[in-house]
């Protein structure tokens, strides 16, 4: 995800905390010029503008963001309790606002809602481990930037293993947790799926899944070195 533009710098502590808790990448800027200078190659994901300290500068920034060829969206305004009645609502300066002090979860909820409304993706639910990433919404997997074409069972197996990195599972456990508690079939089925997974991960990353002899399989590294 591209970072959010946040004004001003330094960012009010509660706003910074809310953004961090929500897991959003962000960069603080002090001015319109700084915003242009620090803009990522793929653009900002959106903006969070705090108007408490310097309302004039904040609204100026909002206007400049809207005036771009491709207006920056979404823009979330952060204001103090005393500023609600002063809001210039007739002008299209922002998409939503939040009144501080507020719970950090409200900031997160408003950002999520904004991203949903503006069609920018809600942050996908991901499982990431090293070079591997699984997108749980789109049923797609990527290893070292290369998309993996996994079948359903391969995907489910990898999802289960990678969501418990370092932990060893017996074949029986995998069968009951991935295939279903009432599954009845040979344990070698697991072996074959593991093999195909390793093949699709590629020679370089096949070792993401390691064999624990006489026990089962493990995804990722042990937490104790090795």
């Amino acid at each position: 995800m591209e970072p959010l533009l946040v004004f001003p710098d330094p960012v009010p502590p509660d706003v910074a905390q809310g953004l961090d808790l929500g897991g959003y990448p962000w960069k603080a800027v002090t001015s319109v010029e700084a915003a242009a200078r620090l803009e990522p190659e793929d653009g900002w994901a959106g903006a969070v503008v705090c108007a408490e300290q310097d309302p004039e500068a904040a609204f100026t920034l909002c206007r400049s963001l809207r005036k771009r060829d491709i207006p920056l969206e979404p823009v979330l305004l952060v204001i103090g309790v005393g500023q609600v009645t002063d809001l210039e609502l007739r002008e299209d300066l922002f998409d939503d606002f939040v009144v501080t002090p507020s719970r950090s979860s409200e900031l997160d909820a408003r950002l999520k809602h904004l991203f949903f409304r503006t069609g920018r993706g809600t942050r996908p639910e991901l499982i990431e481990y090293g070079p591997l990433a699984l997108n749980l919404e789109t049923y797609q997997a990527v290893c070292a930037g290369r998309p993996l074409d996994l079948t359903y069972m391969e995907y489910e197996l990898l999802k289960f293993l990678s969501s418990h990195p370092g932990k060893v599972f017996t074949r029986e456990t995998l069968l009951s947790r991935v295939w279903g508690y009432d599954y009845y079939g040979g344990a070698r089925t697991v072996d074959v799926h593991i093999r195909r997974l390793r093949a699709k991960l590629g020679e370089e990353h096949a070792n993401l899944i390691s064999t624990v002899r006489s026990v089962g399989y493990r995804f990722g590294e042990t937490r104790w070195g090795s």
Copy 2:
């Protein structure tokens, strides 16, 4: 000004006070049926739905408001502080929300902002993805400049899929979200509609809808959060 639809009846005192202070005409309703019965000739100006007392009923009402031929908007949701994290933000049920207890001025400000935004038609009336474009106002679809002659269900299905690009939906989910929560029928119905959609999209663009074996269908490609 037409009155606002307010749920439930009786309306929480602070909400009623906020509406009165803002000078909004409004009518309280207890149910979807009551909302239909009390609807003014020129329709509601918008809706304020309080979800504190009975969240289930509130969300059901939101859904029914959205499902109308001309969806009722704007819809402002009123929730308690504890409900922020439970918000179903992935679903298009409301346009904005306010967390109580709050200053009555915030309610007023959000309503003003909503009317401003919806008045200027910020709400997307167009869905575009690659060569595909859906005009939600005229019920027309265009693919690569060529108009598509879609039936109602085909259009609704394509609209739902294309408004969540990349995401995989099971047949059951599609049946409940596109056909209706209470729909009871075979899942193969989805297959047939998908097939006709692909046929109408043309050989070249049939791959806009991809099959995820053992799961369901997906529109478009994955966004990896860039």
